[in-house]
């Protein structure tokens, strides 16, 4: 085989260090990820690190302003606001993650199916997606919660189902492109089944836009869950979430307007961090965007 020449290997790019280096130079990305990490740790450790019982009323200390011992004051039942914020972090975050996770799990397969099969399958799925995207999220979730009975699970399932079409659409659009790629034909020529082609070739090349969208949707999910809990259709007492805390703050607004700030700002900062996370994912996963 003397005719064969060994071409010099193409320039090897060390992509990982480059991306990481880029990442730690982005204040927004670093702040978002740090904030979310700390928050998740607090949410998990809450039962052990809360200074007070977040549920048991203390009628001796109703609606206290911030003071040493109760750094953010107490609520209408005399419960420590810091403790309640910590207790509410779990359900709030969990609802956001679970509803977005559910949406991915439901939406991605339908998007793959519609994009891969085309024809009538695609037409029917696409029209149903159009229809589902026409239901305003909160409106529909309130309706479902009303019919199935309000609970955190009902709320997050309703949100997950309503968010799913967004992922289905994104993945469908990518699938339409990827399924025509030559490596799909190559795989088929080796005898690959449709399932294998979808799992090995289409999904890994179609999922990026969905991942980026998931990051951004977490913020929307958090706000949606807060709205539901605020209206009383989300987390039910004695459990708490930031939205539920806002509902109580609303009821006592004239007496102690300060109460609305801790949960409101917690939601705001968390949503900002989710958006920061989404933006970061977008840049990391999109080869087009500049990383230098």
């Amino acid at each position: 085989m003397s005719v064969l020449t060994n071409e010099p290997p193409a320039v090897k790019k060390d992509r990982v260090p480059t991306k990481f280096g880029w990442l730690i130079r982005q204040p927004k990305a670093v702040l978002s990820v740090t904030f979310l990490t700390v928050l998740i740790v607090i949410a998990i450790l809450a039962p052990w690190i809360m200074p007070y019982d977040p549920i048991a009323p203390n009628f001796g200390a109703l609606l206290q302003p911030p003071m040493p011992g109760h750094w953010l004051g107490t609520d209408d039942l005399g419960r420590d606001v810091v403790s309640r914020l910590m207790a509410g972090a779990g359900p709030s975050l969990l609802s956001a993650f679970a509803s977005v996770g559910l949406a991915v799990v439901l939406g991605v397969p339908f998007g793959l199916l519609a994009g891969f099969m085309g024809g009538w399958t695609d037409t029917i799925i696409s029209r149903v997606l159009d229809a589902m995207l026409s239901f305003p999220t909160i409106l529909f979730a309130v309706g479902i919660a009303g019919i199935l009975g309000p609970s955190m699970t009902t709320g997050l399932v309703a949100l997950g189902v309503l968010f799913a079409p967004q992922f289905a659409r994104l993945v469908r659009a990518r699938t339409l492109v990827v399924r025509r790629e030559l490596f799909v034909d190559a795989s088929r020529a080796f005898g690959a089944s449709n399932l294998r082609i979808i799992m090995r070739h289409i999904l890994p090349n179609a999922i990026q836009s969905a991942i980026v969208h998931a990051g951004l949707l977490l913020a929307i999910a958090l706000l949606a869950e807060s709205s539901l809990s605020f209206l009383g259709f989300g987390v039910q007492p004695p459990g708490t979430s930031w939205g539920a805390m806002l509902a109580r703050a609303y009821a006592y607004m004239e007496v102690n307007p300060f109460l609305m700030f801790p949960p409101g700002i917690a939601i705001l900062l968390t949503a900002l961090s989710f958006n920061g996370l989404g933006e970061t994912l977008r840049v990391l996963l999109d080869p087009q965007s500049p990383k230098a």
């Binding site: 064969l4 071409e7 080796f190």
Partner: protein, 339 residues
């Protein structure tokens, strides 16, 4: 004669285009045989249906009419499309980069055919793949790279190695060198020849490049608008072509011809290849043929054997073979007057 390795009989492949309103016969009645160890070139302009033949032979699309047999056994008919990958035919595509999943390491792409066909276990598959890499001249260290880290020539060798892992009897190369630099092209073509010796492979080499076809092929088929117009031994086509289209292709690329023929009539093909949705009546080449007559518009020329193994579809095949000038100098009638 013994049974051919591969036999394609009267194959037609139809696409529905313009929202299903029109039919496009991308391949319209093509027949050919491929002997064991033989190398057949298929040449023709872009859009003539070469890739469609390749895909049909691989069972990557359904045929509308005809049949494909392998060693006498029917494997593809319109009613029962073949199962890709399990009758010993593999393919190399034109774009070496696009044929590899960008998110899989090379080794993962390489073992895929073995995985699909259930050959060996994880570690033996890896060994087979690395061994095959060596055979196509690729350093095994590249196995853990991603496609974007390799050059085009390296990627095409990897595609060849991958296709060979299933030990095919026939390798179809669909413009497999067209996207590569000329020097690397030659390397790949030499690799074909080595592999042919080592594995007893048969080749179908699809190209629009006459030089490539005549370098590697024993026989060449010339395709125009979904049909074969000429088929014969490479040397015969170069020296005694019996079809104006073949002659036109040759004169467009004189370097591919023996020196003594290079100064022959310089015929430049006029106009565009017509739409396969509405092919011309009679001879499909007549709208661009410099010697077309009324007969060519009225009747499709039959597929005739001019000499043993040399076929042509032209009403004036004898004259063309005898060296009739193609610049219309012996006859006033040319393209414009035919309509």
């Amino acid at each position: 004669m013994s049974t051919p390795l591969l036999s394609v009989k009267d194959m037609r492949i139809t696409f529905h285009v313009n929202g299903g309103r029109d039919q496009l016969h991308a391949v319209d009645g093509v027949s050919f045989d491929l002997a064991s160890g033989e190398s057949l070139g298929i040449i023709g302009e872009s859009g003539s249906g070469k890739s469609t033949i390749a895909r049909a032979v691989l069972s990557l699309l359904r045929i509308t009419r005809g049949e494909i047999t392998m060693e006498g056994k029917t494997i593809v008919t319109p009613q029962s499309p073949g199962k890709p990958g399990n009758y010993g035919v593999q393919i190399i595509f034109q774009d070496p980069h696009a044929a590899l999943n960008p998110r899989s390491k090379i080794i993962r792409s390489l073992v895929e055919p073995l995985e699909i066909q259930g050959k060996g276990n994880a570690s033996s598959r890896r060994d087979m793949a690395l061994e095959m890499l060596a055979k196509v001249g690729i350093n095994r260290a590249l196995a853990d790279r991603y496609p974007h880290e390799l050059s085009g020539g390296q990627k095409q060798r990897i595609n060849i190695a991958r296709a060979l892992l299933l030990r095919p009897k026939i390798l179809v190369a669909d413009e497999a060198t067209a996207a590569l630099d000329v020097s690397i092209q030659a390397d790949i073509l030499n690799l074909y020849k080595d592999l042919q010796d080592e594995f007893g492979l048969s080749f179908i080499v699809i190209t629009h490049d006459l030089a490539v076809a005549s370098y590697v092929s024993d026989r060449i088929a010339v395709m125009y608008l979904g049909r074969f117009v000429e088929l014969g031994p490479s040397a015969t086509l170069a020296t005694k072509s019996a079809h104006p289209y073949t002659r036109a292709l040759m004169s467009a690329e004189p370097e591919a011809l023996p020196r003594r023929l290079q100064k022959q009539d310089r015929l430049v093909l006029r106009g565009e290849i017509p739409s396969p949705v509405t092919p011309p009546s009679g001879c499909r080449f007549r709208t661009r043929c410099p010697i077309a007559t009324d007969l060519c518009a009225a009747e499709a020329p039959p597929w005739r054997e001019m000499s043993p193994g040399h076929y042509s579809a032209c009403h004036f095949a004898e004259e063309v073979m005898a060296g009739k000038p193609l610049d219309g100098s012996d006859k006033p009638q040319n393209l414009e007057s035919v309509k």
